[in-house]
Every structure is written in structure tokens, then in C-alpha cells.
């Protein structure tokens, strides 16, 4: 599965960067979302993808039986998902405010601070 994921993640990254390079401010936000998802997936899948062995300890045991999926990348990604959501909501609202005030969708017209 990992090689397939590698290709998929590459496409996600490419899509994210393409969108972030657009001048339209809304597309920049979409690029941001794609990028955070791509990065999360990258961390998750490079750690090795294990089927059907979640990192849980059964009741009454002190350690899981057999090999389980690596819990540390999962913890990292979990944090990252939530942070990415925070960033996204902030960015979306910021873009909306900027649009309300500047009335410009084009990033090139936003480059002066005294607009």
C-alpha cells in the first residue's frame, strides 16, 4: 500500500502547491487545506501502514499482544489535524475580512500595506 500512497501523496502535494501559486486568494486557502492533509498523510504513511492492529491495550493486559501500528506518528498527526483546522478557520476568516475591506480577490493587488 505504501508505494501507492507515495504516489497519491505526491499528487496531493502537487495539487496543493499549484493552488497556492494562484493569484486568487480563495484558491490559496484551498491550497493550504490540501497541503496540510498531504503532510499529515506523509507522516502517517511513512511510519509504515499496518492493517487491523490499532495501538490499543486490551483490558487486563499491560501491553498489546503482537505488533501494533506505531502510535507516535498517529499522535503527531492527530495534533496536526486539529492545528490545521485552527489555521484554516483563521485563514478563512482573515480572507473574508480582507475581501470585505480591500475588495480585491487578487493577491497581486494586496501586496501594498497601505491599500
Amino acid at each position: 500500500m505504501e508505494p501507492l500512497m507515495a504516489v497519491a501523496i505526491g499528487i496531493l502535494f502537487a495539487a496543493a502547491i499549484y493552488m497556492m501559486l494562484r493569484r486568487s486568494i480563495v484558491k490559496l486557502v484551498i491550497g493550504l487545506m490540501l497541503l496540510s492533509n498531504a503532510a499529515n498523510l506523509l507522516i502517517f504513511s511513512t511510519a509504515g501502514m499496518v492493517r487491523g492492529a490499532p495501538p490499543l491495550v486490551a483490558q487486563g493486559l499491560t501491553a498489546p499482544e503482537g505488533v501494533v501500528a506505531d502510535p507516535l506518528p498517529q499522535a503527531l498527526v492527530l495534533t496536526a489535524i486539529v492545528i490545521a483546522f485552527g489555521v484554516l478557520s483563521f485563514a478563512v476568516v482573515l480572507v473574508r475580512r480582507a475581501w470585505e475591506i480591500v475588495r480585491a480577490d487578487d493577491l497581486d493587488r494586496m501586496k501594498d500595506t497601505d491599500t
Binding site: 500500500m1 507515495a6 480563495v26 484551498i30 499529515n40 506523509l42 502510535p71 478557520s89 473574508r96
Partner: protein
């Protein structure tokens, strides 16, 4: 001793407070510190004279082999004594020179700090410590030269001195690192015993070049000589201190210190003796163009530094004797002359020697001091300067390589210096009296004491040179001469050096007689001189500014996508290079795959691509939702239930948020040309491809042991939780989670603030806001 030096910095910092307590007497109080240090050094003399080396150990950063250990041998002792004695005199002098100056406390802070840095420099045994003090002297001298900070030329000169010396400092630290690697030690005491190995080491040529650049810039050797005369913007006590005792001699000190370790090779001998001789002649020649007394003295200092460098280059026992004697003689007379120059400036209000005359009537004591010191500078008997010059000629006659050239340069330097000495010591005091901006009279004792003492020492040492024998032997031992017994005497008999001295006296007298006319002639050479190394420095600085402007304009252009492209291309270049050339791209791919997994991945990719190409905002958001839910599905399939839950929740919220907000946003517009889109597509594809390759090579690589094994094993016993991911979040990495909560809270506050205040309110609060631009 270390405490005294470090404490000296504290005293320096306390100068304003002391000034508050002692008022105008502060400099006298502060002079007690160097005076006490000088007395302590004198107390160590029996040990030093016996040829012993004092090592005062003090660990600083033991792990990095950086110590504050002080090494006191003959060389360090001589320099330290000069620094403390002249330092004390300069402080006393500055009390009267800057009497009532509103920035006197600031001056005292900087000069005391400078003195202590210099002391640390000459005493340090460790290369790193030496370098730290070295840079401290550069910084403090920058502050001293720019003391009159309201004066543009002073600021410029200060900056020039700083850039040249610190630039050399960069080379020096590189040289020091190589030196430490080649000699396997950071201690000077050890390095100087490993000369053989160092000179044979493969790193010897580059490290020598680096060290020499550092020393030459600091000691104003050709072609870096130009900053020193410009440093004349400093108040006179500083000039005296900078020149006679210290800062500029730091480079010479370093060369002398490293002479046993690095000296004696052909490249050392040729480079040092040629550069030194060239500096001598250049300094002396440039000196006689000037009528400003401080510039005259400054250029003659360049000449003296050249002499010292040349003598170290020659490196025979005779040359080393000459080095020590000349060093001492120069420190004494040049200090005295600079202080006299300060007196003249202070009393007459001008620095131009042609504007002064007949001052011997009004200032007889000053005239006497100037005469004695001037005789020493001229190298006339019975002063120490004479001895220094005779010994210098003797060693030049011993040179093997380029003897005629060096002899010629040394001779030119000698007679021009004699002329300079006559101009400085005779011109203001003899001849007809002239009207000066101020009415001159004998200066207060505080101004006169220093130069008088220094001049007396010059005379005394010249008359009874035998008293220096032990000092010379002890210093030479540190520079790396063999067991030599030295007997200095004023009279060497009739020999070639004496004949050279006589000839230079004759020629020098001639130059002095016709100086005014000669200056007129030399003025025609100005265009050529103006193309010297200083012009190179100016061009370099201008070029630097232009490059900075150009690259700022290119890189900092305010377009976010240009920043992105630039960053991505650098990333591509570096990672791609490492990937292709460091790792070979061989993947051990094994694709075990179930159909439903492939469907999830396919949906994910399709969603992402669709989000990019959709023309409608709603469709794009829907595509993003598809991608998000497929990712959640992937998490479920591959043993990450917590991630799947979080992803589902967040994805739902995101879609809601976007739907709510996006429709208040503009529609998608096509803003870029097809070429731009193609360019972006290429960049994006390259980066995406690189990520894929990177991940594949990571997967194919060797797995390191998982750091989470500890967490898996201890989640239940220590964390009392059965869900290991949760235990990591709230227990093992709880601080991360706390930070995450802060970030979310901040984002929430920001979102709330921005939603709360609408554009209408914003405008209402700024009634004077210009009318909104019509953005069509």
C-alpha cells in the same frame, strides 16, 4: 589576574557611577586599576627574567577546551606592561584633556573596556579566548574612533576601521580553527612547541594565509593600511593608546606569538619581510604629504608596524632583538608624541603643524618632551629609537631573499621618518611665532606627566641600554629564539648601519628643509594615491550596497508566489541533490494491495485534483470534502481509529465553515495567463514528484528502532490508559498538547475578533478614511 581583567570590565561599566561620585577626578581614580596591574606585573619580573612562564589556569568551557588560562612569558609581560603603564598615563591625561566634556564617563567606559580587552588579548593562552578579546578590541576601538558620533567623518572612519579589522577577524578565526586542527590543541603554550609538525601539516598554507590576513588588517599592513590614519577622528588619548601600545600592535603581537609555531618557512619569511618593508616605505611616504600632526604620526605608525612585521619575517636572532627594542622604543616615543600632539591641539586649537611656530617660548616643557621623543622617532643617539634603528639596519643586511629591495625600502622609510620626526618635533616649537586660534600656554601637569615620563624612559633606556638585556632575552625566548645572550649597547662602532643612519640623517634633513616645496610637488601625485587600496575599499562598499539593493528588490518583491517558488526551488535543489547523488534511487517495492484500499486512495486523489480544476466554489468544497473523507477512510483501514474520528469531525466542520464563509467571498476568477499556469504546474509537479521519490526512498531504507516502543510498553503500567495514542497526547507529550490548546485558543480569539467587528464598524471608526477604491 583573570579576576582583575574581568573586574576591569565591571569597573568600566561603573564609570558613570564613579563619575557621579568623584566628578572630574574620576580618570585619576580609574587609572589606579591599570597602575595596580602594572605594579603586579613588575612584581612578577624576577620570575619572568628567570625565563619561567607563568600559567594561570582557569577553566571556562571545559567541554570545548576553551579556557581563560593566562600565559605570562616575556612577550606577554612586555605587552601587558606597556598596556597598563600607557593605559594609566592615558587615563590621567584624558582627565585634563577632556575636562568638562559631557561625554567623559562614556569615554572612560569604553577606554577601560578597551584596555582590558587588550590585556586579555596579550595574556590569553587559548585561541578562542584570544579571539574573543581580539574582537572586543575591534568593537571598543570602533566606539572610541566614533567617539564624536555627531561627526559624519568620525562615524565613517569608525565603520571603516571596524569593517577592515573585523573582516580580518573572520579570516583569523578560520585560521585559528585550522591551527587548532593541525596542532591538535587550542592552547598557545602547546602549539608553540609543535612548530615542526605544524609547518609540515597539509593545512599550513591556508591557515597561514588566514592568520596573516587577520594580523595584517589589525596591524594596518599594506594594503590594509588606510583605515589607521582615518581613525584619527578619535580624541587624542585614544589615538595614543590605539597606536603606541595596543590595538594596532595586536596583529604584530599575534605574529610574534605564533612565530615559534608558524615562522621560519620560506613563505613566512618572504611574505612578512616584503609586506613589512612595503608598509614601512608606504607609511613613511604617505606621512610627509600631510600637515595634520595626528596624520603625520599615524602614517609614521604604519611605518613602524611595517618595520616590526618585517623584522619578524626576517626572524634571525639579531632581527628578533631588533624587534623587541624597536617595539619598546616605538611604544615609548609614539605614545609621548601623540600625547604632545594632543597638548598642541588642546592649547593652540589647531592640528596643522604649518600653522604653529615658536611655541618653545610659551611651552618650554612641552617642547623639551617633544624634542626628546622626536629624536627617538628620528632614530638619533642617544635615544632608544637610535638603537632600534641600528639593529633594524643590521638585520636587514642579514636578509637572504630580496635583500637590495628590502634594504632600499627600509632606507627610504628611515630618512622619510627622520623628516617626519623633524616636522613634528621642530616645526611647531621653533621658527617664528604664529597666531593660533587659541593663545597657547604650558598645559596642566596631568597632560604633561604622561609624555614626559615616556620621553624620559626613551632617553634613559637609550643611555643605559644594558638594563634591557634581560627583558630582551626573556621576550625573545617567547618569540622562539634560541638561548641567546644579548648585550645592547648604544655604540656599535663604525659599520654599515651607522653609515646608513648618517645618510638617512642627511637626506631626511634635506627633505625637512624643502618640505613645503616637496609637498606642493607631491600634491600632483594625489590622483594616483587616491586610486590606492582605500578606493578599492570604497568601491567594495558601494558594490555591497548595490548587490544588497538588487537582491532585496529581486527576492523581497512582495509577491507571495515568488517567495513560494523561490523557496520550493531551493528545496527541490537541495533535497533533489541529496536524493540523487547521496542516495542511489533503488526501491525495494512490494505492492500488496486490496481493492478497497486502492479505491480509497483513488477517491482521495480524485478529490484533490477536482478541487483544483472545478470552476464552481461549491464543487471545489465538495471535492475537498470527498478527499477529507477518503483520508478518514484510509485512517480506519490502517489501524488509526483516533485519527479517523478526528479527521471526520474536522472535515465536517471544515465543510460547514467553508460553505458558510465562502459564499461571502468572490467567485473564482482566472487571473493568470496560460504560461504562468504552465510554469506553476511544472513547479508543482516537480515538488510532488520529489515528495513521492523521497517517501519511496524512505520506505526502501533501513528502519531505525521505533522510539515509540517505550510508549507502547509503558502506556498501561505508567499512564494507566489502554489507548496508547491518547496516553501519548495527555501524558507522555502533554506539554505539546498544552501548546496545541494555546494555538487553538489564539486562533479562536482571532476568528471571533474578526467576525465580531464588521467592515461597517471598521469604517465607522475611521470617518476620515479615503473613499474606497473602485476595484471593478
Amino acid at each position: 589576574m583573570q579576576l582583575a581583567v574581568l573586574g576591569g570590565f565591571v569597573v568600566a561599566g561603573m564609570a558613570p557611577l564613579l563619575h557621579h561620585w568623584f566628578g572630574a577626578r574620576t580618570p585619576l581614580v580609574m587609572a589606579l586599576l591599570p597602575a595596580a596591574l602594572a605594579l603586579w606585573l613588575l612584581g612578577q619580573w624576577p620570575t619572568i627574567a628567570a625565563g619561567e612562564v607563568l600559567l594561570l589556569e582557569w577553566a571556562w568551557v571545559p567541554g570545548l577546551e576553551i579556557t581563560l588560562t593566562f600565559l605570562i612569558d616575556g612577550l606577554a609581560w612586555l605587552f601587558a606592561l606597556l598596556i597598563t603603564v600607557i593605559g594609566a598615563l592615558v587615563l590621567v591625561y584624558s582627565g585634563d584633556y577632556l575636562r568638562g566634556h559631557r561625554d567623559l564617563p562614556r569615554f572612560l567606559v569604553v577606554i577601560t573596556a578597551f584596555m582590558m580587552s587588550m590585556l586579555g588579548l596579550v595574556l590569553a593562552d587559548n585561541l578562542v579566548t584570544l579571539f574573543v578579546f581580539w574582537e572586543l578590541t575591534s568593537i571598543t576601538s570602533y566606539l572610541l574612533i566614533g567617539f564624536n558620533h555627531t561627526d559624519l567623518s568620525a562615524r565613517k572612519a569608525a565603520l571603516q576601521g571596524l569593517i577592515v579589522t573585523v573582516g580580518g577577524g573572520l579570516a583569523l578565526i578560520a585560521g585559528f580553527v585550522m591551527l587548532a586542527v593541525a596542532g591538535d590543541s587550542w592552547s598557545l603554550a602547546e602549539l608553540t612547541t609543535r612548530g615542526e609538525a605544524l609547518r609540515a601539516h597539509a593545512l599550513y598554507p591556508p591557515l597561514l594565509i588566514c592568520v596573516l590576513v587577520g594580523a595584517f588588517t589589525k596591524s594596518a599592513q599594506f594594503p590594509f593600511h588606510f583605515w589607521l590614519p582615518n581613525a584619527m577622528a578619535a580624541p587624542t588619548p585614544v589615538s595614543a593608546y590605539l597606536h603606541s601600545a595596543t590595538m594596532v600592535k595586536a596583529g604584530v603581537y599575534l605574529l610574534a606569538r605564533l612565530h615559534p609555531a608558524l615562522g621560519g618557512t620560506e613563505v613566512w619569511v618572504v611574505t612578512l619581510s616584503l609586506v613589512g618593508a612595503l608598509t614601512m616605505a608606504t607609511g613613511a611616504f604617505l606621512a610627509i604629504r600631510h600637515t595634520n600632526i595626528k596624520k603625520l604620526l599615524a602614517y609614521s605608525t604604519v611605518m613602524a608596524l611595517g618595520t616590526l612585521t618585517m623584522l619578524l619575517g626576517i626572524g634571525t636572532d639579531g632581527a628578533l632583538v631588533a624587534f623587541v627594542v624597536f617595539l619598546l622604543a616605538h611604544s615609548l616615543y609614539k605614545g609621548a608624541l601623540f600625547l604632545v600632539a594632543g597638548i598642541l591641539d588642546h592649547e593652540t586649537g589647531t592640528k596643522d603643524v604649518t600653522a604653529m611656530g615658536g611655541l618653545r617660548h610659551t611651552m618650554p616643557l612641552t617642547a623639551a618632551v617633544a624634542l626628546v621623543a622626536g629624536l627617538s622617532l628620528a632614530g638619533l643617539p642617544p635615544l632608544l629609537g637610535f638603537l632600534g634603528k641600528e639593529l633594524m639596519f643590521e638585520s636587514v643586511l642579514e636578509v637572504d631573499a630580496y635583500r637590495p629591495l628590502i634594504l632600499l625600502l627600509a632606507f627610504v622609510a628611515a630618512f622619510l621618518t627622520l623628516a617626519v620626526a623633524a616636522i613634528v618635533a621642530l616645526r611647531p616649537f621653533f621658527g617664528a611665532s604664529r597666531q593660533t586660534p587659541k593663545v597657547p600656554h604650558e598645559p596642566p601637569w596631568g597632560l604633561l606627566a604622561g609624555p614626559a615620563l615616556l620621553a624620559t624612559l626613551s632617553l634613559l633606556a637609550g643611555l643605559v641600554p644594558g638594563m634591557l638585556d634581560d627583558l630582551v632575552v626573556a621576550t625573545m625566548a617567547a618569540i622562539g629564539a634560541g638561548e641567546a645572550s644579548v648585550h645592547l649597547a648604544l655604540w656599535h662602532g663604525v659599520n654599515l648601519p651607522l653609515a646608513l643612519s648618517l645618510a638617512s640623517l642627511l637626506l631626511g634633513g634635506l627633505v625637512f628643509r624643502h618640505w613645503d616645496r616637496l609637498r606642493g610637488r607631491l600634491a600632483r601625485l594625489e590622483p594616483i594615491i587616491a586610486r590606492g587600496p582605500e578606493a578599492g575599499y570604497e568601491a567594495l562598499m558601494r558594490g555591497l550596497v548595490r548587490v544588497a539593493e538588487w537582491q532585496t528588490g529581486m527576492l523581497q518583491n512582495g509577491y507571495i508566489r515568488n517567495y513560494l517558488v523561490m523557496t520550493l526551488l531551493v528545496l527541490l535543489g537541495l533535497v533533489g541533490h541529496a536524493l540523487f547523488f547521496r542516495h542511489s534511487l533503488d526501491f525495494a517495492l512490494s505492492l500488496d494491495l486490496y481493492f478497497h484500499e486502492a479505491v480509497a486512495a483513488g477517491l482521495m486523489v480524485a478529490g484533490a485534483v477536482a478541487a483544483c480544476v472545478m470552476r464552481s466554489r461549491l464543487a471545489a468544497v465538495a471535492a475537498l470534502g470527498i478527499m477529507g473523507f477518503s483520508i478518514a477512510l484510509t485512517f480506519v483501514l490502517f489501524s488509526a481509529p483516533d485519527l479517523a474520528i478526528t479527521q471526520l469531525l474536522v472535515e465536517t466542520l471544515t465543510v460547514i465553515l467553508l460553505v458558510l464563509v465562502l459564499f461571502r467571498l468572490p467567485r473564482f476568477a482566472t487571473l493568470s495567463t496560460p504560461q504562468e499556469r504552465l510554469r506553476d504546474l511544472v513547479v508543482a509537479t516537480l515538488v510532488g514528484g520529489m515528495v513521492t521519490l523521497l517517501m519511496l526512498s524512505v520506505l526502501g531504507g533501513e528502519r531505525l528502532p521505533r522510539i515509540s516502543d517505550y510508549m507502547v510498553a509503558n502506556s498501561q503500567p505508567l499512564g494507566h490508559g489502554h489507548n496508547i495514542v491518547n496516553v501519548i497526547l495527555v501524558d507522555f507529550r502533554a506539554l505539546d498538547t498544552l501548546g496545541e490548546m494555546f494555538v487553538l485558543a489564539l486562533a479562536a480569539i482571532g476568528v471571533y475578533a474578526m467576525l465580531r467587528f464588521h467592515a461597517g464598524e471598521y469604517d465607522a471608526r475611521r470617518p476620515a478614511a479615503p473613499p474606497e477604491r473602485d476595484d471593478g
